[in-house]
Symmetry: C2
Subunit: 127 residues, 2 copies
């Protein structure tokens, strides 16, 4: 059993280019999104971690939400950079409030409804 | 620490239609792929589990490979049904032989190279 306070990880791909040509130098949109979320107000049970490459490069920037043995893991894509920090903040806040990772459809932002790349069941797969 | 014998789960989406129109009745390609793998020869540390929906419906049939705290989790897509059982068998066998889930690129089949939907780091994220 777990509860809604079980720790949640927000993983952010910092190598995502969000469709930028590969010859553009400087900070990548994924790294900028990560930076923008450093200052964001998040639930106490959420940590934000940079990761290099989710192999979802065609639909980056990408994030993953996971946390505990009872929650589904979600990968979301098609963020564009730091301007999406608030959108990600909203999504992870709703996710962190659940016990199973399943945010009701009507409570999800349009971006989260339309840009789920994949979800993976918890270790104890529900019936 | 883990070793190459740590248990591996091969999760198969049994609701995937592989592009089939939604009015086609009968067993779905994902369910048929699951059935075809029931009789496959797999490493002793691999279990095969049916799952309903990875939210990767545009690129199904889909599978997920995971196992233990040290392996990356991978989602692969664009399988077409039971005729891909051997391809999946090959992929999970190679995955199960690793400690970290990272199968060298040159050892991956063309399908696995081209149809990785996403990967998620192990709980202990490598440097």
């Amino acid at each position: 059993m777990t509860d809604a306070n079980a720790p949640v990880e927000l993983l952010i791909c910092t190598t995502c280019r969000a469709g930028q040509p590969t010859d553009v130098e400087g900070p990548r949109p994924g790294a900028q999104l990560f930076d923008a979320l450093q200052g964001a107000e998040l639930p106490a049970n959420v940590t934000v971690t940079p990761v290099e490459c989710f192999s979802n490069c065609d639909h980056g920037c990408s994030i993953t939400l996971r946390g505990g043995d009872a929650r589904w893991t979600y990968v979301y894509g098609n963020f564009t950079g730091p301007e999406d920090a608030e959108l990600v903040q909203d999504g992870v806040t709703r996710y962190a409030a659940t016990q199973d990772g399943l945010v009701p459809w009507r409570e999800r932002s349009v971006h989260f409804r339309k840009n789920c790349i994949a979800r993976i069941p918890p270790l104890e797969i529900p019936e």
